[in-house]
Symmetry: C2
Subunit: 458 residues, 2 copies
């Protein structure tokens, strides 16, 4: 093959596809801090975690030394339904920006779930099936994760119980119906079906719910039913392991054409996409084999990395989950009502948090009107309507490309385009009508939340 | 390459991509009847048609002898953004049905417009740009065509004015917002902005609009504005020419692996997808080189082929368009209110109509609850949430595969999966809730419409 001719889209051949996931923790000198049992403040053991999660997933969660895990053949077979995802050269965007920068994006939206979440959903469903379970429970906010999981469970004929944040359940009925079409049961959270749900409803009548609350309900349901476990779509290190497929494919596609990226950009909510995309590049950086600028982009309205505290915190509102050390805004933090997209979790993956604390990646925050402006500009020339979450990375990529225009540098920029915005048209409508606003939490608001962080010596 | 190993998805290489569209009329012994001027009842001339359509598109419309048209390089370049579309072996569906049949589907939903409509939208936008026009006008019902056209116009920086059937404009705001995000202006039809719109509003105050009415408004607007032309997403023979890319890719992919299909199935509304998908196969059939069963699938609630009259009829409600000879339910026919998806045009492409009249293809009609049952079954195993329109083809493909199960025949079935159902979740919700109903128009209802057909000796 002529190494010089770079196609519009780079697809890997079947025999070039990664057959192993990469566990970046194996190369980290400073390992992410362990999950703690909130009762004893001791690290969670395998036996404790397997009450909540599937056995093999717990092994993956706890293993910070094995660099590669074989991707089971059944999961590789499923990946064939929508992978490899294309690495696209954004020729049209480059032309529109009139920049000397070369821009590539890894597009994860070409599957019915519409996002990268499917990469981990199918893995978690597979291990649940392999363990002989009847089903799984989970939470979902805007619905990307719930959609992906219901699709994966349908494939393996597993029962799927989704607790959907009530405000989304009511205001985003389409995602709910996608999940139901795949056979999942969807319950608005908080609900009367769990103890923690009833407790929250009693304390906050009429509440519209939160991700942290839905997590608590899903965990309680899994633990109280025979043959069920809880699964989570982000934050956990097992999820980042599965999502490493994004980065591994990206790296293989770049290597195929001898392309060396200067900057790698991902949006960051819980960290699943970012952690997956950057993992092999970060591995090289950790091993001293190569250097890259790596940028996490988060919403200014939910700035866990850029303005959060690096501390042990609860993962959920009901405090039924282990404590995790992470950059956090406090487990009761909820983004302002005008916040449109996802990326609204109060904390950040412990892996990403540790890498950030070690200054191995940068973080920036962007305001949502500028994010939608970037989304629109991208859509009009690249022909893909991006999810609001993904558009945070687009914003940062455009800004870096415009800096190159000023300096004349021909930098190579790679960003993760995690999904499509088909189910986010209400937010686009607000933007189209000029009715979208920004909000940046004040220092005082954040300080109030920080004061409630649990007192744990890390 | 090992000819025997058939991958899960067959993608063509860049150098295997078709560089010409195929004009099936060139091989038809009985040519489709010409468009007639409603005032003179004489065939529309080039000069008459170019008042409405772009010059090169009129040439394509009128040319029934040239078998191949070069695809301009600019259009080939745009096609690279989302083509080749995959030809997928439905291994999971075959397993689910436990059928010896081999099922393939050509998936056209992998682009932001979500359907095959983009294939012709980009061509029509290109010719408009080439002619130096300022913009184009069109109508849209559910919104697939309007979405595709607004995306294509955005790419070529053309103005795009869409008249959207009022009921869809109000009830399907998300498609409208996609179009606006791509920079199109979207007007609910009937509107006060056109003479025909004002006339219809005066005659039917409070009407929720129809496709035929929106066509009239779009045509009037194009003809009254300097530098504008009208474009149409289906029915016309030029559209079928552009859509031949679907069939040509399908045939190239099958040939690459020595696969001979027995049955080819497409859903049929105006005929654009069906006509495009079947064209090269029909060509072989017309030239006596091969034989195939070709099946058009239409909704029982809008059965133009299976129950319509083959006659000259108006293409629009306002009667500003030429007359076309086609299988038609009458230009005032509107499907019953419970009809959920597209495929609601009263007539059928004159090419498809003539082929059907010559018994070169079969037609069947299916009821929508059975269509959604097929959609759900397909989604759960194949991981794609299909558009209601596409699901008509799925229904027929499943039924043929189940017949093979009974007879033990290993037939090869190919069907067109024209798009995704992301914007049709209201219909899915109805189905999920058991609230979807069927409706078959009575003979009396159809007879009333037939009585209004214009009296034209063909």
């Amino acid at each position: 093959m002529d190494k010089k001719k770079i196609p519009y889209k780079i697809y890997l051949e079947e025999n070039e596809m990664p057959a192993k996931w990469y566990n970046v923790r194996a190369d980290m000198k400073n390992k992410p801090a362990p999950l703690l049992n909130p009762a004893t403040l001791k690290p969670m053991t395998f036996d404790e975690l397997r009450q909540v999660f599937c056995d093999e997933l717990v092994q993956q969660e706890l293993d910070d030394t094995t660099p590669y895990f074989d991707i089971p053949q059944e999961i590789q077979d499923f990946y064939k339904m929508y992978r490899p995802s294309p690495l696209v050269r954004a020729y049209c965007l480059e032309k529109e920006l009139d920049t000397p920068a070369k821009i590539y994006y890894k597009f994860e939206g070409n599957n019915t779930s519409g996002s990268h979440k499917l990469n981990s959903a199918i893995a978690q469903a597979y291990y649940a099936k392999k363990q002989g379970l009847k089903g799984v429970t989970t939470e979902t906010g805007a619905g990307q994760w719930g959609t992906a999981l219901s699709m994966a469970c349908s494939y393996f004929k597993l029962d799927c119980k989704v607790f959907m944040v009530k405000v989304s359940y009511e205001q985003k009925p389409f995602r709910r119906e996608v999940m139901r079409t795949y056979g999942a049961s969807v319950t608005p959270s908080p609900s009367e079906t769990t103890e923690v749900g009833r407790r929250i409803l009693a304390a906050h009548p009429g509440t519209s719910g939160s991700l942290g609350c839905a997590i608590s309900e899903a965990v309680e349901t899994a633990m109280s039913m025979d043959g069920y476990r809880y699964v989570l779509g982000s934050v956990l290190t097992q999820v980042l392991l599965h999502q490493s497929i994004i980065g591994l494919e990206t790296k293989a596609a770049l290597d195929k054409y001898d392309i060396h990226p200067d900057i790698i950009i991902g949006c960051a909510g819980g960290g699943s996409n970012l952690g997956g995309l950057i993992s092999p590049f970060m591995g090289e950086k950790l091993r001293g084999e190569a250097d890259y600028r790596i940028i996490a982009v988060e919403p200014a309205s939910c700035p866990s990395l850029t303005r959060g505290r690096y501390a042990y915190d609860f993962c959920d509102t009901g405090m039924v989950c282990p404590l995790a050390k992470m950059y956090t805004l406090g487990s009761n933090f909820i983004p302002s009502a005008n916040h449109a997209g996802g990326l609204r979790y109060h904390g950040m993956s412990s892996v990403v948090s540790q890498l950030y604390d070690d200054k191995l990646l940068e973080a920036i925050s962007v305001e949502q009107t500028s994010v939608f402006a970037a989304a629109e500009q991208f859509a009009r020339v690249e022909g893909i309507l991006p999810a609001p979450e993904s558009s945070h990375a687009i914003r940062a990529a455009i800004d870096e490309a415009l800096k190159c225009k000023e300096t004349g540098e021909e930098k190579t920029i790679v960003f993760g385009l995690t999904g499509t915005g088909y189910f986010d048209m209400t937010a686009y409508e607000k933007y189209n009508n000029g009715e979208m606003s920004d909000y940046i939490p004040t220092d005082e608001e954040l300080a109030k939340e920080f004061a409630k962080l649990p007192k744990v010596e890390a």
